[in-house]
């Protein structure tokens, strides 16, 4: 029996109040789909037009009516094409992302590809991830591994970013004693920080070392003052995480689900200066990620373990 189905069976005994969860879904959907008109109206501010008109400005420096609606993200590709700009891979992937997000979660399956031929080992992704997810010291979802290969003068260096592999058969999930971590229908392995008890069994279970325990450290520890960016709340999973709320739990890469919800690619993808990281929906036959995976250059880390990572590499 497969692990996942075994899990399902076991969990079946605990259906108790599953239906109840659905009650809150309605409210949530609004947020997943971006700000509605109400929210936009709330953003309106008064302006200084009056004051400036009195000074005889030729044209009001500031408009009286605020914009009625915030335009939805227009896929960048269209704007680029309009002025003869070639469509970038990022623009294409964002377009695909918007397409995938329009589908029910069960019908999309996220995957990431990292082209080692393009990775320059700069760790921009590492830091983008830290900033994006408000990671404290000692928690790093996407370190970049570096190796030197060869003997002088026939030498080269290889750089391998190591995010969470979002395994199809994640060894970290079944070991959790409290159901705090699971594989979502879209394939992302998530951790519920509200449920995690911090036993760290999943940390030792991960063959990729991709799970991290948040000790509650701060980068400003031992300095004269705490800094505001450290205190600001994190956005993971589209929730509001104060610094305290994620202390003592295990954390990991979740493909920037909060950005996906907003129609944005994961931070490591957009910030990659080598354009080495690709992202998309495996269930979309027209996706770039599928093209790349079938390029014949793809391999996965520790493939022999059978964890079936959804992060692949291109050599």
């Amino acid at each position: 029996m497969q692990k996942s189905s075994r899990r399902k069976l076991l969990r079946g005994a605990l259906v108790a109040a599953a239906g109840g969860a659905a009650l809150s879904v309605g409210k949530v959907a609004a947020i997943e789909n971006g700000p509605g008109p109400a929210a936009t109206t709330a953003l309106r501010t008064k302006n200084l037009a009056g004051a400036l008109r009195e000074r005889g400005a030729a044209r009001e420096p500031f408009p009286r009516p605020a914009p009625a609606v915030l335009p939805a993200t227009q896929p960048l590709a269209a704007a680029q094409a309009a002025v003869g700009t070639p469509t970038s891979a990022v623009a294409r992937m964002q377009e695909e992302l918007v397409r995938a997000m329009a589908k029910p979660m069960e019908q999309r399956k996220w995957a990431m590809g990292i082209d080692l031929g393009k990775c320059v080992g700069c760790s921009a992704c590492t830091i983008a991830c830290i900033a994006e997810n408000h990671l404290p010291p000692g928690v790093v979802y996407r370190p970049v591994l570096e190796e030197e290969i060869g003997l002088y003068p026939n030498v080269t260096r290889r750089f391998t970013p190591r995010p969470c592999m979002q395994c199809e058969e994640p060894p970290c999930v079944p070991v959790c004693p409290v159901n705090a971590t699971s594989k979502r229908p879209d394939g992302v392995v998530e951790i519920n920080y509200d449920k995690c008890i911090g036993c760290r069994y999943c940390v030792v279970a991960c063959p990729y070392g991709a799970r991290y325990f948040d000790f509650g450290d701060q980068y400003s520890d031992g300095t004269p003052a705490k800094q505001p960016y450290e205190e600001s709340h994190g956005p993971e999973y589209g929730r509001d995480w104060s610094r305290e709320s994620v202390e003592g739990v295990v954390r990991k890469c979740q493909f920037c689900l909060h950005r996906l919800n907003a129609g944005m690619l994961p931070a490591c993808v957009t910030t990659c200066i080598g354009g080495a990281t690709y992202f998309g929906d495996r269930n979309d036959p027209d996706s770039l990620i599928n093209e790349l995976e079938a390029s014949g250059r793809a391999f996965r880390l520790k493939e022999d373990l059978g964890t079936k990572p959804k992060v692949f590499y291109l050599l």
Partner: protein
């Protein structure tokens, strides 16, 4: 030592044969350890996990090792008690209640320590109320619960006649006895017989969770494909052997140094326990040898490295000197050369138990010091992302706290309950129909 003085031993009770000096010395050491442990506990409560040396790469540290040591000892204690009742080991009758008490206390202590190891202590209840049955931890926790219930019930049944007897007296212990006897004062042979049968049933019942979680502790590591060093079916079995070593050693020490009774009678018990302990140790060593030799011969670098770390790494001395020399060779030598001396046997047990502790550490730590990817070492720097580990002072102090708390609990139980101080005739005989012929404490 106000507690000691106040409780004391009731007039007429059999006086402990252990020299007072042992007790005083031990009490002093305990007091210092407990006080220091409280400091560590305070640090843990106020500063969380920050003062710890474990991090994300070596994420299970000393506490997990000590915790496992304690719960494995609990299982061992229960298994010894079960053996006594089920196999009717007369020689060991007198230690059976102590073994049950030891099991309970040791398991509780282990659970306290693992609770302190949790990142979110306040959510511990989730393991009980919202478990994930695919996790070994969830099953282990169920086993703990079952174990506690079974052990407590068995202990109660075993002690009930003595409690009933004592409940008629005056004083603190009688009060405790009255509270605990729950109105069941029937000490007739039939009642005892009934109890005893229940006890045996409970023993059978309890073996399942005891072996279950001992093996489970081993399996906790064993199932991790992520860690080649741990991914071994040897782990659960080795844990069982270790269970008997540690519990046997604890009971040996207890009997040798602290149990009342004449040295002559005691010696037999001590000798038996010591032999049992060392036999289990022998089994453990054989298993270990099998594992190490296979691991090393397998020539898989990932495994080899972990063994290399144990055998030649920074803590090579803990394996060679503490585990093999002090923890195995010396105890065997003592058994062979000083087998007549209760005190020497006690010492041998102490050494064997200490040796097994390094086995625990060497099970937990080396499995984690080998990076999942070699270049992970330098990829991102932080004290939490270090493949080196040596427990911080807080970790030692908290471990000390938990161990000394366990000692305290055991002592209080030992003193308040008629675990050893039962008078002749109070204890049920382990053979049906021969009530009162032999008491477990062998005090007559």
């Amino acid at each position: 030592m106000a507690t000691v003085a106040k409780i004391g031993f009731p007039a007429g009770a059999v006086r402990p044969s252990a020299p007072r000096i042992w007790f005083t010395a031990f009490a002093l050491v305990w007091a210092v350890a407990f006080a220091a442990g409280l400091v560590g506990l305070a640090q843990r409560i106020t500063e969380g996990h920050r003062p710890a040396d474990y991090g994300t790469y070596v994420t299970w540290g000393l506490w997990v090792a000590v915790y496992q040591y304690l719960v494995v000892m609990a299982a061992g204690a229960f298994l010894i008690a079960a053996a006594i009742y089920l196999l009717r080991l007369k020689a060991l009758q007198r230690v059976a209640p102590a073994a049950l008490l030891l099991g309970i206390v040791s398991l509780l202590a282990g659970m306290i320590l693992v609770l302190l190891d949790l990142g979110r202590m306040e959510r511990f209840w989730r393991v009980v109320l919202a478990p994930d049955w695919s996790s070994i931890i969830a099953w282990v926790v169920v086993a703990y619960m079952t174990f506690l219930v079974v052990s407590a019930a068995a202990l109660w049944l075993v002690l009930r006649p003595a409690l009933a007897e004592r409940s008629r007296e005056q004083g603190l212990r009688a009060g405790v006895a009255r509270a605990l006897v729950f109105g069941r004062r029937d000490v007739t042979a039939q009642a005892r017989e009934r109890d005893l049968r229940t006890v045996r049933l409970l023993m059978i019942l309890g073996i399942v969770p005891a072996i279950g979680f001992t093996g489970g502790e081993g399996a906790l590591f064993g199932v991790l494909g992520a860690r080649p060093f741990w991914n071994s079916s040897m782990f659960p079995i080795a844990f069982l052997a270790a269970a008997v070593v540690t519990a046997g050693a604890a009971l040996t020490v207890l009997t040798a140094f602290f149990a009342p009774g004449h040295s002559g009678d005691k010696h037999d018990v001590v000798q038996f326990l010591a032999r049992l302990t060392l036999f289990a140790l022998g089994v453990l060593l054989v298993l270990e040898f099998a594992e190490y030799s296979i691991g090393l011969y397998a020539s898989l670098p990932a495994q080899e490295d972990a063994y290399g770390e144990i055998l030649t790494g920074d803590y090579w001395w803990s394996f060679w000197l503490i585990h093999l020399v002090a923890g195995a060779a010396v105890p065997f030598a003592i058994l062979a050369l000083r087998g007549k001396s209760t005190a020497w046997l006690g010492a041998a047990a102490v050494l064997a138990a200490a040796g097994v502790f390094t086995v625990r550490l060497n099970a937990v730590i080396p499995g984690q010091v080998i990076p999942q990817f070699e270049s992970l070492r330098d990829a991102f720097s932080d004290k939490r992302l270090d493949f080196q580990y040596s427990p911080s002072s807080m970790e030692w102090l908290v471990s000390l706290f938990v161990v000394s708390l366990a000692v305290l609990l055991f002592y209080v139980g030992y003193q308040l309950l008629p675990v050893s101080g039962a008078r002749p005739g109070e204890q049920p005989d382990i053979r049906p129909g021969t009530s009162g012929a032999t008491t477990l404490d062998g005090g007559q």
